[in-house]
Symmetry: C2
C-alpha cells in the first residue's frame, strides 16, 4: 500500500497539463491525492464516485450493539467514514463465523510518523474488538517499483516499519506481518493467487482504474494483483488451514480503494468472496500546517479578532489533529466550544495538541525501542496463528 492515511500535497508529481488547468473533481488514487477545491477533498462526492457506502449513525449503532462496546473515536468522529459490505462482516460476527483483517504499508521512509499510524491504531481496535487474525502486507516490491530504491533498501525499510506497526500493540499470536519480497519466495499460494487475478484483469482495466500509461513499467502494471491477493484467505494457507472461504475486512485510507474495487470485481470469477472495506479520510499534512500558518489555522488574524469572532474548528489543522488523537470526547468537545467562541486562543489550542502528541510519540518510541529484530522475525514468519479453522 502506498498511502495509508496521509494527505500529501503531490502537485509536484502531476503533469504540467493537470497542474495548469483547474480540476473539476478531486483526484484520489494510490499515488495522487489532489483536491479540486480549497476546502479539501469532498468525501461525500468520493463515496458517490467510488460507489461505496457512508458509515452512518445506524451502522455505528449496530457495531456498538453487536460488540457490546462503544466504537473507536476514529469511527465515532467520522475519520473512518466509508465502507463496503460492513453489514456482511457484522452478520458473520453475529453468527460467530470467522473473518480476518488485512491492511498494509508501503515502506518508503525510515520511520513512520503519527499520520502513518492512524490506520494501524484503528486496526488494533478492530482486532481487539472482534478477536480475529490480522495480516499486514509490507509492499516493499511496490516501493522498489515506484521509487528510486534498491530491493535491499526497500526490504530493510519494510523491517524498520514493521517495528512501528508492532509497537502499536498487535497480538503476536494473532498477527502476521509479511514483506512481499519475502513472502513470494515462501508461500506458493501467493503467486498462484496473483496469477489467477492477473488472468482476469486487462491493461485497459488497470489504465482506467489506476491511470497507468503506455510508458509505465510492466512492473507497475503487474503490481495491483499483488496488493489484491491477500484479500483471499487462500493466500495464507498456514493461518487458514488452506480454506479459501473466509471473509476479509480491509481497513485503509480511501485512496487504496481502487485496488479493492478491482479485487471485488474479479473475486466472484475466482469463486472467492469480495473483501469488505472500511475507509478513512486523509490525515492532514503536517508540512502544510507548518508552512502555511494562516491558511490552515482556523484562528482569527489578530488576538482581538479571534476573541470577537472566535475560531473555526472545521479548517483548523490543530483541532483536526486532536480529533485523530485525543481520546477524551468530553475534553475535545470543551476545546471545540471554547475555540469556536474565541475563549481558547490558537496558542492554547496548539499547546493542547503538543501535549497530546508528545505523550503519544514518547509512548510509541518507548514501545518501539523494545521491538527487537528477533521479535520482528517472529511476526514475519509464515505460521499458524491462535485460531483453528
Amino acid at each position: 500500500m502506498s498511502n495509508t492515511g496521509e494527505m500529501e500535497q503531490k502537485v509536484g508529481e502531476m503533469s504540467v497539463a493537470e497542474g495548469e488547468q483547474e480540476l473539476e473533481e478531486d483526484i484520489v488514487d494510490p499515488w495522487t491525492v489532489v483536491s479540486a477545491s480549497a476546502k479539501g477533498i469532498d468525501y461525500d462526492k468520493l463515496i458517490n464516485r467510488f460507489g461505496s457506502s457512508k458509515i452512518d449513525a445506524e451502522l455505528i449503532a449496530r457495531i456498538e450493539r453487536v460488540t457490546g462496546k462503544p466504537v473507536h473515536h476514529l469511527l465515532r468522529r467520522g475519520i473512518f467514514f466509508s465502507h463496503r459490505d460492513m453489514h456482511f462482516i457484522l452478520d458473520q460476527y453475529e453468527q460467530k463465523k470467522p473473518f480476518y483483517l488485512y491492511t498494509g504499508r508501503g515502506p518508503s521512509s525510515e520511520a513512520m510518523h503519527l499520520g502513518h499510524l492512524v490506520p494501524f491504531i484503528f486496526t488494533k481496535w478492530l482486532q481487539d474488538t472482534f478477536d480475529v487474525p490480522l495480516v499486514v502486507q509490507m509492499t516493499d516490491d511496490e516501493k522498489f517499483l515506484w521509487k528510486d530504491l534498491t530491493l535491499d533498501e526497500a526490504n530493510r525499510l519494510a523491517h524498520e516499519n514493521a517495528k512501528d506497526i508492532i509497537a502499536c500493540g498487535f497480538d503476536i499470536n494473532k498477527t502476521l506481518i509479511f514483506s512481499d519480497l519475502e513472502y513470494m519466495g515462501q508461500v506458493p499460494e501467493f503467486y498462484r493467487n496473483i496469477c489467477q487475478i492477473s488472468k482476469l484483469v486487462t491493461f485497459n482495466q488497470v489504465r482506467g482504474i489506476f491511470g497507468f500509461g503506455d510508458s509505465d513499467s510492466i512492473g507497475k502494471i503487474a503490481f495491483p494483483p499483488v496488493q489484491a491477493a491477500p484479500s483471499f484467505s487462500s493466500t495464507f494457507p498456514h493461518i487458514f488451514n488452506k480454506r479459501k472461504d473466509l471473509p476479509c475486512l480491509i481497513p485503509c485510507a480511501i485512496d487504496q480503494d481502487p485496488y479493492f474495487r478491482m479485487t471485488r470485481d474479479v473475486a466472484p470469477r475466482m469463486d472467492c468472496l469480495k473483501p469488505a472495506l472500511v475507509h478513512s479520510t486523509f490525515f492532514p499534512a503536517l508540512q502544510g500546517h507548518r508552512i502555511n500558518k494562516y491558511a490552515f489555522s482556523g484562528g482569527g488574524a489578530t488576538l482581538e479578532e479571534h476573541k470577537e469572532k472566535g475560531g473555526n474548528c472545521e479548517i483548523d489543522v490543530s483541532y483536526q489533529y486532536l480529533t485523530f488523537f485525543m481520546e477524551d470526547d468530553t475534553k475535545l468537545e470543551q476545546i471545540r466550544k471554547d475555540y469556536t467562541s474565541g475563549e481558547l486562543l490558537t496558542g492554547d489550542l496548539k499547546k493542547e495538541l503538543i501535549t497530546v502528541l508528545q505523550k503519544l510519540v514518547s509512548e510509541h518510541r518507548e514501545k518501539r525501542a523494545q521491538v527487537t529484530d528477533e521479535i520482528v522475525k517472529q511476526y514475519m514468519t509464515p505460521r499458524k496463528l491462535a485460531f483453528d479453522y
Copy 2:
C-alpha cells in the same frame, strides 16, 4: 516457453485484419509462426530482422576445435542455425571459466512429441560436451495465463512433461528442472529478479516486442520477465552460490528470441551479463504433413514422374524429419542422392523415416516409463548441483 521447436499453423489465432491481407514478412513470435511465402519461413531474413548471427562454417569449426569432437548433427545440418554471443561462450570455455545452460518448456499437452524433444536432444549434447549445469524452466504459469487451463492442471502437465525431458538423459547431478508456480514460492531471488527486470521494461516495449494489446490480461503483460529471469545466475542461489556473474547459454527455437532480446536489453542496466543464444528452426508440423500430402511431399505426382524427374528433398517433410533424427550422415546423404535422382520412391523414404522414428519413440517410451514421481521430485528440488562456485 511456449513453442520449443514446432512450427504450428496458428492462422486461427491471428486477427481478421492480419488474416485478410497478404503478409509482407514472416510473423515469428512466441505465439504465432506464420510464413509469408509458400516456401516457409525465410530464416536468413529472420537473422537480419532479429539482429542475430548465422552459425557459419567457421563457428562450427571453432566448436569442434575447442571441444575436440564433432558437433551434433542438429548443428552440422543447420537446424540450429543462428546465435548470439556464442563466441563469448567459447572464449569462456577455452579459459576454463564456468557458464550454464538454460532452456524451457511450456507444458500445454499431456505428452511431448518428438518435435518438442528436439531442443532437449540438442541441449543434452551441449551439457555432455561442455560439462555444465542446466536449468529447465517449465512455464506452467504461462500456460495457465494463455490457455483454458487451471493452475493445478498446468502444474500437473509440467510434471508430466518433466518426465519426457528427464527421459532425454540429463545428468541428475547437473540438472535442475523447475515449475514457475513452484519455484516462485521456494526461492525469493526469482521474484526479486522479476521485479528488477519489470522495473526496466515499459508497456510500450512489450507491445513492440510481443504484440500485446490493451485488452490483453496484465498476467500476459507481466510474464516476459518470468521467462527472462533464469538468464541470470542469481535466480539460482543454490546452484551458483549466490554468484550473479555466471554467463548463460540458451538453446531454443527462434520464436523464443523476443524474450531474450528483451533480456539482453535490460541486462547491462541490472549489472548482469547478457545471455548467449543458439536458435533452431521450427520442426515441420506433422499434422500438415498428414493432411496435405502433396504440398509437403517432395515426390513426383506419379511413379513415372518421380522416376523421371526425381524428388525434391528441400520441401519433402519426410526427408526434413530424417535430417532431425537420422544420426548417420553417410546414410542420410545416400538417401538424399537416391531420392533426388528418383531411384528412391516416396514410399521407401517414408519407410526409412518410420523405422527411425519407431526406434526413437520406443526407446524414449522405455526410458520415460522408468522415470518415477520420486525421480521427478529429485530433479525439481532446488539444490546444489555437482559444481562448486
